[in-house]
């Protein structure tokens, strides 16, 4: 009961004060994926999150970042020709991405699922034998690029993915690497 209460009371117990975090909104999910890498490389503590409901239009993601670093963040993006739609402070809670992985061992094969995406590897030679799940159009494209290649030789989903399904696949891929390669 306490567990349920803690879930449903989230809206009514917003933290006091003003959030120190900001969000960067982009035209397209592919820009989010690129921007995340660039800002991380620059040492900024960034997280990919779901946008507030009022700006949801499609396969949306935003980047949450320390608002104090706004100038730096925007400058980095500008230098790489990424122009955000909007930069705003966080005054409401953001949606959290899925963080749990589901793992299934088929003996010679290992499957990792993140959200709606699954990747399966042959444990004997670390070749990616299947990619399944998802619903956005970059999934069949990523599957074609990755299946048949070794885990470390396949293109990373984050570098070719465009959508949240692509990002979910990237998380599954990273978890697979962690499990197979340590």
């Amino acid at each position: 009961m306490r567990f349920l209460k803690s879930i449903f009371s989230r809206n009514s117990e917003k933290p006091k004060g003003v959030s120190e975090r900001g969000i960067i909104v982009f035209h397209h999910t592919s820009e989010v994926i690129k921007a995340e890498s660039l800002l991380r490389e620059a040492g900024l503590a960034v997280l990919v999150k779901g946008p507030p409901p009022e700006i949801q239009t499609g396969c949306d993601m935003v980047i949450e970042f320390p608002i104090i670093n706004q100038l730096q963040a925007v400058d980095i993006l500008k230098r790489h020709r990424i122009e955000p739609v909007q930069v705003a402070a966080v005054q409401d809670y953001l949606l959290e991405p899925v963080s749990l992985f589901n793992v299934k061992d088929f003996g010679d094969f290992l499957m990792v699922r993140a959200a709606n995406m699954k990747i399966t590897v042959d444990k004997r030679d670390l070749v990616i034998v299947n990619v399944s799940g998802g619903g956005c159009p970059d999934v069949p494209f990523l599957a074609e690029q990755m299946v048949g290649k070794k885990l470390l030789e396949a293109p990373e989903p984050a570098s070719h993915g465009q959508t949240l399904c692509g990002y979910s696949l990237h998380l599954a891929y990273e978890e697979m690497k962690r499990r197979c390669l340590g």
């Binding site: 779901g50 396969c59 949606l95 991405p97 499957m111 699922r113 990619v131 399944s132 999934v139 494209f141």
Partner: protein
């Protein structure tokens, strides 16, 4: 009955095409265009075509466009579909791998509702996501979620399965709870075909049947086995079967595909399709 499958091919250079499909030598053919059957909409369309042939009805038509994830192909397709809807004569649509876009989803749905005489609306993959996101899920006749997508439908705040909240764990023993929650928040279509270790055929929050045998574990890892299921269901619907029976027989036939092909997790869905005719014959022995 005629049927239109709407989806994408993972190649940005592939043009926007509309036409009847056929399957030859392991490829999907639409006019002069030849598409590899690996997964996604080509796998769905090929399975639907083969299922229709088995049921001795006309193959479906497809509206296809190239889109590798940027969304421009999907938007081009949406705009074209809205334009041609008044001239379309079809009993149903199966919407599939398309970039979720609420604006264009609504344009398509409203055009169908305004211009056509109540076609059957089936949504899977990206179009199911946007149908839920738009708030018009209840306007659809059938969604075909897997367990992760069922949790997404059950979470009224999630705009995509990626953001399904953690308390909705992908726990197959709680599927009935997820189904009830999705209907309570009007985030479910009139019928659901929930794919998992146990498949659930649902109408208006009532479970009509479940299918759990034969169970071939490797099928979960094979890309395109969800697409083949939606394809078989589309085949049955195009032959005039009622939605619950089409789903039940589709679930059985998809499982028999696995049993007959005896795959390991490295198989592709194309390796399974030669067994479709026999799988459908076997499934007919187990009506609802």
């Amino acid at each position: 009955m005629s049927w239109v499958i709407v989806g994408t091919v993972p190649d940005d250079d592939f043009p926007l095409i509309f036409g009847q499909v056929r399957v030859e030598n392991g490829f999907l053919l639409i006019g002069e265009h030849r598409v590899k059957i690996a997964r996604g909409t080509p796998a769905l369309a090929a399975t639907a075509c083969l299922a229709a042939s088995e049921l001795k009805v006309d193959p479906p038509e497809v509206l296809l466009v190239g889109d590798a994830g940027k969304g421009s192909g999907s938007r081009k397709l949406y705009a074209h579909l809205v334009e041609i809807i008044p001239e379309l004569r079809t009993n149903g649509f199966t919407f599939h791998y398309l970039q979720p876009d609420v604006y264009w989803h609504n344009q398509v749905l409203w055009a169908i509702q305004k211009k056509l005489k109540r076609p059957c609306l089936v949504a899977d993959a990206g179009f199911m996501y946007v149908a839920k996101m738009s708030g018009f899920a209840a306007d659809y006749d059938l969604f075909t979620p897997d367990i992760g997508e069922m949790c997404f439908l059950a979470d009224e705040t999630a705009p995509h399965p990626f953001y399904t909240r953690g308390f909705l764990l992908e726990d197959e023993s709680r599927v009935e709870e997820y189904i009830a929650r999705a209907y309570a928040e009007k985030n479910a279509s009139r019928h659901l075909m929930v794919k998992g270790a146990k498949d659930f055929v649902v109408r208006d929050d009532i479970i009509l049947s479940t299918v759990s045998e034969p169970n071939v574990e490797a099928m979960e890892a094979i890309g395109g086995t969800g697409d083949s299921l939606t394809g078989i269901i589309t085949g049955y619907l195009s032959a005039g079967y009622e939605i619950p029976l089409a789903c039940h027989l589709g679930a059985m036939a998809n499982r028999y595909l696995g049993l007959l092909a005896d795959p390991n997790p490295a198989f592709s869905v194309a390796d399974l399709l030669p067994y479709l005719g026999e799988a459908m014959k076997k499934s007919c022995k187990y009506p609802m």
